[in-house]
Every structure is written in structure tokens, then in C-alpha cells.
């Protein structure tokens, strides 16, 4: 009881005035063309402004055939305009048109005879240049020549160069399933530069290097997905988990689609999703709103208002009716992922699911205590709640320790899950997470740039006000809420499981142990392993000698099927005794 009182006093100290203090209240205004801006002046970090804008479009807005176009389009936005990136806009236009003609012809042949050759089995990969027909290869070379000629006239990366020499830094962009965000830091006296550059590229991009840039994206795909230990399998896991949702393909797109985008598709995409009403700008840092608002008006008003509705993402995820499972072999630590469909961004249950993941994580979290330190079967283990605009998921993931198998981790997860379903989390446990969530709600506002990214991200997902509201919802979560969501969102039929095993040739398992596992089964072998691991913490040989003697004595009474386990265990005890005597 005394402990409770101290906790209550401490909580009061922690939360006094806090929820009010962390409010972010930017000034919001909208141009006639529909583009919205949020201005948030702060003087704590002098001389610098972080600025950016979000386009409320991502790979979830795509369809088969153009998967990855949102990300590719992001690359295109750095390639210049009729002013940036060329000294002769007219010649530049001619070069682009002749490349386009070659590429259109190339695609016509590709989808015609080359795909036909693939259907018949005459080639294994229709896009592999080594397997091209003479005419296709001719076109590939001509296009390459055209692109090389064009490059001599392009003012290479001028967009970045102008920003760089005028003191901007950290220019970049990212694309997610739901949004595309472009950002940079500029010195306080250079806000107008940002307005010039960003409104120019929104108004007048020409998609220069439309064909050559996709080689860069292929390399990006190889880097992120194909040359990492689990990348290609993670992608397959996503595709297996999402059935009808447009989250089933990767943000970077399928390989064949990456080759295929046409300029017509890109322009259509631009006029649909980059309309001012689908864009929101953000400015955070050391500036005077009265000074920059006229600049924003002047520059961004040159964007023509959109002339078409932004299409809704119509397809909802179908309910999952049966468990799905994949088994991958890779150059990777054996690991497990168990995933469930959960809730979209801003859903009423998001905070409870989020708190559930917090209770699982961290050094005082349940997973560390039960799997890393307790049973010693995990090297690491996490729970995560991922709420997106059109759907969400909750995932348990863990990597194995020692000889533990992914299946043991999976079984251990179901035990943890059952606890959530049947026992209320304690007030202390929940309060600890609330205290941390509150302190983190300050920490995450400290950097201008990080604050900018969060505003953009939340606005793209559904509304920037989330930055103020979500911490309050976290504080309101009750133990009953957590028990309810655990029972609501984690049905056995709605789970998708990925098992990753180390490919042969990697670190081998102790062959004796493998043989034992064959004899006594996975579960019993797990107990044996835990016993063997505990041996490592015994430092006194005498204690082990005693245990050994006891095991000898009891051996005769053990059931015969357990004999191999006892033999193995005793062997390990002897090894440990020798080890200790040698030290």
C-alpha cells in the first residue's frame, strides 16, 4: 500500500502540467489553389529553418503494372524543371521526346514478342538484356546513345547544387505506403530560396532522365531488398500477409513494373496526386510568420488548382480466415515473425495496442524477461503495432539464441499472448509505460527537423493533430482496454507466420544435440537445452559433482525414452566440471 502511495505521488510529479506543455500549435493557412501550410516558429535553435511538404500519396495508391511509381516519382522530382537542370529548354525537350519514342517502341516489342517468347519458354527472363532479340538489343543501345547525348547537355543535379551553394543541407525525401515527404534545412535568411525551389519543381517538373534513373532505382532495390540477409523473404511475407489490400506490394515496386513506367502514366499520376489540395507544406524553426507568409502566397499560388478528384483507395483487406505460414532458408539468424491484422491510424484501439507493444518491449518488458533472460531462447524479441492509413498490423518478432528454434519462440509468444487475454496488466506495469510515453512526448519535439518529419508524417497518415492527441489517448488506456484488444485482434485464424532458418553451410548445430532432438522431440530437447545453459552459470565443481551423482542414482528409475536426454545432460555436466577444473 505504501508503494502505491509513493507511486501516486510520483505520478503526480511526472504529469503535472505535462499534457498541456507538450502541445504543438502551428499556424495553419490555405492558399486559394487548395494547398495548406503549417507554420511553427521556434527560437530555441537559432538561424535554421526546417521545411518540407508532403504529398498524400504512396504505394497504397498504386495498382499492378505501376507498383513503385510513387517512389520513382520522388526520384523524378529532383531531376529539374525547364529552368533547373538545363541551359536549353527547347533542345532538352526534343531529346526527351526522342528517348520517349524509342522507349515506347521498346515496350511494344517487350510486351509483344518478347513476353510471347517468355510464355513459350524460349527465354527465362524477358527483361534480361542477354536474352533480348536483335531488335530489342538495338533499341536498348540506341536509347543508351540518346541518353548519353542528352547527358552532355543536362546541368547535372543542378537542383541539389543550387541548394548546396546557398547553404541548405540535408535535402532528401522518402516514400512510404501512404505518403511522400520532401524536406531540407535552410539558413533563416534563405526561406525564399526554399519557396522558389519547391514551387518551381511542383509547378514545372519535366521528368528529365526518366529512363536512365530507373537503373538507379534497380540498384536501390538490389541494395535494400536483394542483397540483404532477409530482404526478399520479408517482401514475400508482406505479400502473403496482405491479401486484397494495396499494401501487398513493396514501396519500391516489383521489378518488371520498375522497367515499365511510361511518361503518360507519370503525368497522369502527377495531375492526380500532386494537385495543391493534396499537398501540405510545413515550416519549423527560427522565422517570423508575418515575413514568410507573403512569400509562400506569392510562390505557391503559381500552382494551378487541380481539376480532378483524388481517387479513393477502395479495396479493403479481406478478413483472414485461416492461418498462413512460410518457411524461409537464408543467411540469417534463425527468427520468427507472427503477424495479425490490427487497426488503421487513429483508430480508437490504436493507443491500447500501442501500450500492449510497449509492455512487451524494453529491458523491463515482458519479452526480455521471459524469453531473453528467463527461458534464454531469444537473442532479441519485440512486439510492434503498425497503424497505417488503410489498415494496420501487430507483429511479434524474435531471433533465436543458442540452439533454440523459431518454433520455440513462436510457442513462447502464444504463452505471452494468452497472459494478455486472461490477466489484467498491473497498474504499476501500465503506469511505467505511461510515464515513459509522457517523457518521450517531450523528447520527440526537441529537434526542429524531427518535429517537421513527424508533422508531415502524421498529416500524410490522416492529420497532424495526432501529435497532440495521441499522447493523451495513451495516458487514458486502462488494463481492461488491453485485455479487450488482446482478445479482439489476435485470433489464431488471423495469424501469418514466417519462420526463418539458417541455410545449410552456416553455423552448425551441435550434431549430438540434433540427434537427441530426433529421439526425444523438439519440446523435451528444449528443456534439456535450458538445463545445459544453466550449467554455464554454475561456478562450483563440487556442486556439479553432486548433481552428477544424483543423476547416476536416478537414472535407473527414469522412463527409458528419457535415457538419451539424461546421457546427454550428464555428458555436458562432465564437460563443465572439466572446464571449471582447468580454469
Amino acid at each position: 500500500m505504501l508503494k502505491r502511495l509513493i507511486l501516486a505521488a510520483l505520478l503526480a510529479a511526472v504529469s503535472g502540467g505535462a499534457v498541456h506543455a507538450q502541445q504543438v500549435e502551428p499556424e495553419e493557412f490555405v492558399l486559394d489553389n487548395g494547398m495548406k501550410f503549417l507554420l511553427y516558429p521556434r527560437t530555441e535553435q537559432p538561424n535554421i529553418i526546417a521545411a518540407g511538404w508532403v504529398a498524400k500519396v504512396g504505394s497504397a495508391n498504386e495498382r499492378p503494372g505501376i507498383t513503385g511509381i510513387s517512389h520513382f516519382f520522388e526520384h523524378m522530382m529532383f531531376k529539374g524543371t525547364t529552368t533547373m537542370g538545363t541551359e536549353d529548354a527547347q533542345l532538352d525537350g526534343e531529346r526527351r521526346r526522342s528517348q520517349r519514342a524509342l522507349r515506347d517502341r521498346f515496350l511494344e516489342l517487350m510486351y509483344g514478342e518478347q513476353y510471347e517468347r517468355w510464355r513459350k519458354g524460349e527465354v527465362t527472363d524477358p527483361w534480361d538484356p542477354e536474352q533480348f532479340t536483335g531488335e530489342l538489343d538495338e533499341l536498348r543501345r540506341s536509347l543508351k546513345d540518346e541518353m548519353d547525348t542528352h547527358k552532355e547537355e543536362i546541368v547535372n543535379n543542378e537542383f541539389d547544387q543550387v541548394y548546396t551553394e546557398l547553404g541548405a543541407s540535408g535535402m532528401n525525401a522518402f516514400t512510404t505506403y501512404d505518403l511522400t515527404f520532401y524536406f531540407i534545412n535552410v539558413p533563416s535568411n534563405k526561406f525564399e530560396l526554399w519557396a522558389w525551389m519547391e514551387s518551381d519543381r511542383l509547378n514545372d517538373s519535366v521528368f528529365r532522365e526518366f529512363y536512365s534513373e530507373r537503373d538507379v532505382v534497380h540498384e536501390e532495390r538490389r541494395m535494400r531488398t536483394e542483397s540483404t540477409p532477409t530482404g526478399v523473404f520479408d517482401e514475400q511475407f508482406d505479400a502473403m500477409f496482405w491479401q486484397s489490400s494495396t499494401y501487398s506490394w513493396p514501396v519500391i515496386g516489383w521489378t518488371s513494373d520498375l522497367n515499365s513506367y511510361t511518361e503518360e502514366q507519370a503525368w497522369d499520376y502527377y495531375h492526380t496526386y500532386y494537385q495543391p489540395a493534396n499537398l501540405v507544406g510545413f515550416v519549423v524553426g527560427d522565422f517570423d510568420p508575418a515575413e514568410i507568409k507573403p512569400m509562400i502566397r506569392e510562390y505557391f499560388s503559381r500552382l494551378s488548382p487541380g481539376n480532378r478528384p483524388v481517387p479513393a483507395v477502395v479495396t479493403l483487406e479481406m478478413p483472414q480466415l485461416a492461418e498462413k505460414r512460410m518457411i524461409a532458408e537464408c543467411d540469417c539468424q534463425p527468427q520468427i515473425r507472427v503477424r495479425y491484422h490490427a487497426v488503421p491510424f487513429n483508430h480508437k484501439d490504436e493507443a491500447a495496442l500501442d501500450m500492449m507493444s510497449n509492455i512487451l518491449n524494453g529491458r523491463t518488458g515482458r519479452l526480455y524477461k521471459s524469453m531473453v533472460e528467463g527461458a534464454e531462447i531469444a537473442q532479441s524479441a519485440f512486439g510492434s503495432n503498425d497503424a497505417r492509413k488503410y489498415g494496420g498490423l501487430f507483429e511479434f518478432s524474435a531471433t533465436t539464441k543458442g540452439d533454440a528454434t523459431p518454433e520455440e519462440l513462436e510457442a513462447a509468444w502464444y504463452v505471452e499472448l494468452e497472459r494478455f487475454k486472461t490477466e489484467l496488466v498491473s497498474e504499476d506495469e501500465l503506469q511505467k509505460e505511461k510515464n515513459q510515453a509522457l517523457a518521450d512526448s517531450y523528447r520527440r519535439l526537441q529537434s526542429n527537423f524531427f518535429l517537421l518529419v513527424q508533422l508531415g508524417y502524421f498529416e500524410g497518415e490522416g492529420g497532424w493533430e495526432y501529435i497532440n492527441e495521441f499522447p493523451k489517448r495513451q495516458q487514458a488506456v486502462t488494463p481492461e482496454d488491453i485485455m479487450r484488444v488482446a482478445n479482439e485482434y489476435f485470433a489464431e485464424t488471423d495469424r501469418t507466420v514466417a519462420v526463418y532458418r539458417r541455410k545449410e553451410g552456416g553455423a552448425p548445430e551441435d550434431p549430438e544435440f540434433a540427434a537427441l532432438k530426433e529421439k526425444i522431440g523438439e519440446q523435451m530437447a528444449g528443456f534439456v537445452r535450458q538445463n545445459v545453459q544453466q550449467l554455464q552459470s554454475v561456478e562450483d565443481p563440487a556442486e556439479l559433482e553432486e548433481a552428477l551423482a544424483q543423476m547416476e542414482a536416478n537414472k535407473g528409475q527414469a522412463p527409458p525414452e528419457m535415457a538419451p536426454a539424461l546421457d546427454y545432460l550428464m555428458k555436458k555436466v562432465r564437460e563443465r566440471i572439466e572446464e571449471l577444473n582447468a580454469e
Binding site: A21, A101, Q161, V216, S227, G362, Q379, Q431
Partner: protein, 501 residues
């Protein structure tokens, strides 16, 4: 051309014209350089203005800020893994981990973790290659309790043996993954080849060296480093400087002693120029190439910095990115760096990746950029862009208070010459075109480089489909195949050794 395509093209022209037509608005300059920007006055902060000395001799830097009810205390200690005994590689970093994870002499690890988490205080400790530290970020409202717990952790770590066993096991599990990722193979092998496996920059822990770590070795390592005589403190966040000084005086009043640790040793290993390779079945080959460079406080520091920026350090605006990513589409990223060390010469290194058949072409073009810079120098415009960038982004170095104090702490440990930041911008301004070309010739030598590639050798060696480059053209086609190493012992795996081409 089909009729359909013609229609598409007309449509596109129409779009372009409409857009161009929209640009001409009164008041907007034709080019961004034509905007009349206001002046931005910025004076580099002086470390002395933030500095105080406690009566036990410890330097404290303070930079308060009222914006959030948080306090951040950072203790910095000189020294790191170069101080560990040769046979116990891994001791330093594990000691850092155990300081945070092993409880205190009077509190169990579990209780300490629970208390920090309940207070919502972020506490950490680390021992790196050349520097070490511990930091606390907590709410102002519970600073006293959090700081007390934190100092108990820093001064009286428990090194709980059960936690040590868990941490050792974690380390072994992550070691097992050393060969899973090409970048990890590249980093390990590069370190061995460039610095030698006996220098702390090239050495790596093995299962055997980890097993030699004991509670006693950690205690003695901690006892040497984490002492007030070897410490600098930085405090940011919501506090009154005067009160904080008195508070720290009180908290440290019974804490004396300790020696300042020596500087890291120079490597005695001589690396061998040439082509090296480690086999890995992935579609994209990754490489690093370079040689030794210069010390940080070198008289040509500014010319070298500008030269590297123009060559490959300056992101999209650098020559290597323009040529190899933007023009040729050979990679997603390439960069060069003049990676300086304070006490011995650092390295000049170029790193990138490309699909296996175009690795040779990427290397060829990267080398060509170096040679072009040596023979033709840089244009006045390039030089100006680079200089303006360093000068205009200079205030960002001091943007966050914690970052600013970190710079001061680091400068004090490494004896950065006085006035370095004060004169920084004028020194950048003073670099001329001839300086850049001179240092390009003096400090880069393609013939003396070591090139290390990880990827599928048969595809890499063969080169690209258009026969623009193959690996046969570097070092007369000679390559040394480095073995894949047993991740736990670092001994060569038998099946991975193969003969040179």
C-alpha cells in the same frame, strides 16, 4: 510510330506548354540566385563561455534551455578499446554494456532497470574505440532521484555475473551473423587489411576472447576509465547554471582521483595495395577502395576537405555522384571520405556498390574521377559552390545545445587548436583552385590503393554486357581472394579459400 503514340506525345507537349506558361508571375525572379537574401550574422560560440571547473578539477560545460522540462547530463571519459589487453578483445564494449545492465553493488540489475524505466529516465553507458561515456536524460521533476541512481551506476556498477552471461551470449549470437550481410564482411575484412588485426581499428572479438572476459577484468577496466581525473561533464536542459554547479559540487565532493588516459597508439601494420575479394552469393557487389590519409590537424585540412567534397564527399553535387549515379545509373550511392584520425594518419576511402557485372565499371569511373581531379583540377564554380556550402551551413554545427557542448568536449579531449572554429570560415574562404589540385596529387594515389570487393566473383570479374570494363584491367588482373572467416574464431573457413585468377 503508331497513331496512339503520336496522340500521347501531343498530349504531353500540351501539358508542358501549359506549365511553362504558368511560370511567368511578376515578382518571382527567373533564377533562385537572383533573390536578394538578407544577411545572416553568426558568430561561432566560444567554449569558454559555457565552461566551469569544479573544485575536484572536473570541467563542466553548461547550456540551459527552458523549452522542455528535461535535463540531460553527459559524462565523457577519455579512452576506449585501444586500452584493452590484446587477448581480451571485446572487453571494452562489454564493460560499457554491463555498466548499464549489471546493476550496482547495492542494487540488483532488475531493480535498477525497473527504477529507471518507472522514472522514465533514459540512462546509458558505452565504451567505444577512442572515447567512452555515460548519459542521463530525465524529467526535471525527478532529477534528484534519477541522477542519484545514475551516479550509483557510474561509480559502483555491480557487473552482475548472471547479466554478464546473458550479454556474452548475446554477443556470440550477433557474431554468428557476421557473414550474413555483405557490408559486415566488408567492414571486418577492410579493418584487418587496412589496420592489421592487432590494432584496435582492425581487431575483432572472437568466441575465445569473449570467454576470457570476467567480472574482475571489467571492474579493473571500469576503474581505470570512469574516474573524475579522466572526465568532462556536459549538461543541457531545464536548470539554472549556478544551481547546477553547486549541485554537482555536492554530488562529486567525495569523488577524486584517476589519471587521464594516454592517446590511442599508431598502427604498425603496413597495408598491401592491390585487389582483394571475398566471395558472397548476392546480386550486388560492394566495395571499398583507398589508402592511408592524414592526421586531423594537418596544415592542408581545409584544402583536403574541399577537395574531397568536390570529388565524392558532397552528396549529389559531388563529381562521383554526378557521373556514376546520375549519368551512368551504376549505383544508388557513392561517396569518398577523408576520414581523419587525431593521433595518426587516417584513411582516404571511396565506397559504393553496383550489380555484380558493373562493379568493375564503377571502380573504373571512380578512379577516373580521381585522376581527372589530379590532372585538371577543379573549376572556379565548383570551388565556389563547395566553399559557400561549408560557410553557409556552418551555424548548423552549433544548432542543438547538446551537439554544441559535444563539440567542445571533443575539442578538449583532442587538443583542437584554439581559434579553430573562430577562423573556420575564413580558412575555408582562403582555399584556392591550385591548393585543391595540389592536395589531390599529394594525398591520393590510385596505384597505391587497396580495393576490397565482396560479391559473386565470376560475374564481377567478367564485367558488363557492353564490355566497357572488367576486373582484368586493375592491377594486371591480379586478385587476392580472402577467405570467408568462421564467425566465431575468425579463422579462414576451409571451403572458402580459393586460388587467384
Amino acid at each position: 510510330m503508331t497513331t496512339k503514340n503520336k496522340i500521347q506525345m501531343i498530349g504531353m507537349c500540351g501539358v508542358s506548354l501549359a506549365l511553362i506558361g504558368g511560370v511567368a508571375i511578376a515578382g518571382i525572379p527567373d533564377r533562385p540566385e537572383d533573390i536578394g537574401f538578407g544577411e545572416l550574422l553568426f558568430d561561432a560560440p566560444e567554449a569558454g563561455d559555457y565552461k566551469a571547473t569544479l573544485s575536484n578539477g572536473v570541467t563542466v560545460y553548461l547550456a540551459p534551455s527552458k523549452e522542455f522540462p528535461l535535463v540531460n547530463v553527459s559524462l565523457s571519459f577519455k579512452g576506449g578499446s585501444y586500452l584493452e589487453p590484446d587477448e581480451i578483445t571485446g572487453l571494452a564494449s562489454m564493460t560499457g554494456q554491463l555498466i548499464r545492465r549489471g546493476g550496482t553493488t547495492t542494487m540488483s540489475p532488475e531493480d535498477m532497470d525497473e527504477r529507471f524505466d518507472f522514472l522514465a529516465a533514459n540512462a546509458s553507458a558505452f565504451i567505444g574505440g577512442t572515447s567512452s561515456g555515460a548519459s542521463l536524460n530525465c524529467l526535471k521533476s525527478n532529477f534528484d532521484e534519477s541522477f542519484g541512481l545514475f551516479m550509483d551506476m557510474v561509480r559502483n556498477p555491480g557487473f552482475d555475473s548472471e547479466r554478464l552471461r546473458i550479454v556474452k551470449d548475446e554477443r556470440l549470437e550477433s557474431m554468428k551473423q557476421r557473414n550474413d550481410d555483405a557490408d559486415s564482411i566488408l567492414g571486418m575484412e577492410w579493418g584487418r587489411l587496412m589496420w592489421g588485426e592487432n590494432h584496435f581499428e582492425g581487431s575483432a572479438a572472437t568466441e575465445a576472447s569473449i570467454k576470457r572476459i570476467s567480472v574482475d577484468t571489467m571492474r579493473s577496466f571500469h576503474g581505470k576509465l570512469f574516474q573524475p581525473g579522466n572526465m568532462i561533464v556536459a549538461v543541457t536542459g531545464d536548470f539554472e547554471p549556478g544551481e547546477m554547479i553547486s549541485y554537482l559540487e555536492g554530488a562529486f565532493s567525495d569523488w577524486q582521483g584517476g589519471q587521464m588516459m594516454p592517446n590511442p597508439p599508431s598502427p604498425d601494420h603496413k597495408f598491401t595495395p592491390g585487389m582483394f575479394h571475398v566471395e558472397k552469393d548476392i546480386p550486388q557487389g560492394k566495395f571499398r577502395m583507398g589508402h592511408r590519409g592524414v592526421k586531423r590537424d594537418h596544415p592542408d585540412y581545409f584544402a583536403l576537405t574541399i577537395m574531397n567534397d568536390i570529388l565524392g564527399g558532397g552528396g549529389f553535387t559531388s563529381r562521383m555522384m554526378k557521373k556514376i549515379r546520375s549519368d551512368e545509373g551504376l549505383t544508388y550511392g557513392i561517396r569518398s571520405s577523408m576520414s581523419n584520425r587525431v593521433h595518426y594518419p587516417g584513411v582516404f576511402v571511396v565506397s559504393s556498390f553496383s550489380k555484380n557485372p558493373t562493379v568493375a565499371l564503377t571502380i573504373k569511373y571512380a578512379l577516373a574521377e580521381i585522376e581527372k581531379l589530379q590532372s585538371d583540377g577543379v573549376t572556379g564554380e565548383e570551388l565556389e559552390t563547395s566553399k559557400r556550402s561549408f560557410i553557409e551551413t556552418f551555424p548548423r554545427r552549433f544548432e542543438s545545445k547538446a551537439g554544441m557542448l559535444n563539440t567542445f568536449v571533443n575539442d578538449q579531449w583532442t587538443d583542437r587548436p584554439a581559434g579553430f572554429w573562430r577562423d573556420y570560415r575564413s580558412n575555408v574562404e582562403g582555399v584556392g583552385q591550385d591548393d585543391v589540385q595540389r592536395v589531390a596529387n599529394d594525398y591520393m594515389d590510385p596505384d597505391q590503393m587497396m580495393i576490397l570487393v565482396v560479391g559473386k566473383w565470376d560475374e564481377i570479374y567478367e564485367g558488363d554486357i557492353d564490355k566497357r570494363a572488367s576486373m582484368a584491367e586493375f592491377f594486371d588482373g591480379t586478385v587476392t581472394h580472402q577467405p570467408l572467416r568462421d564467425p566465431l574464431t575468425l579463422d579462414a573457413l576451409p571451403e572458402s579459400t580459393s586460388d587467384g585468377e
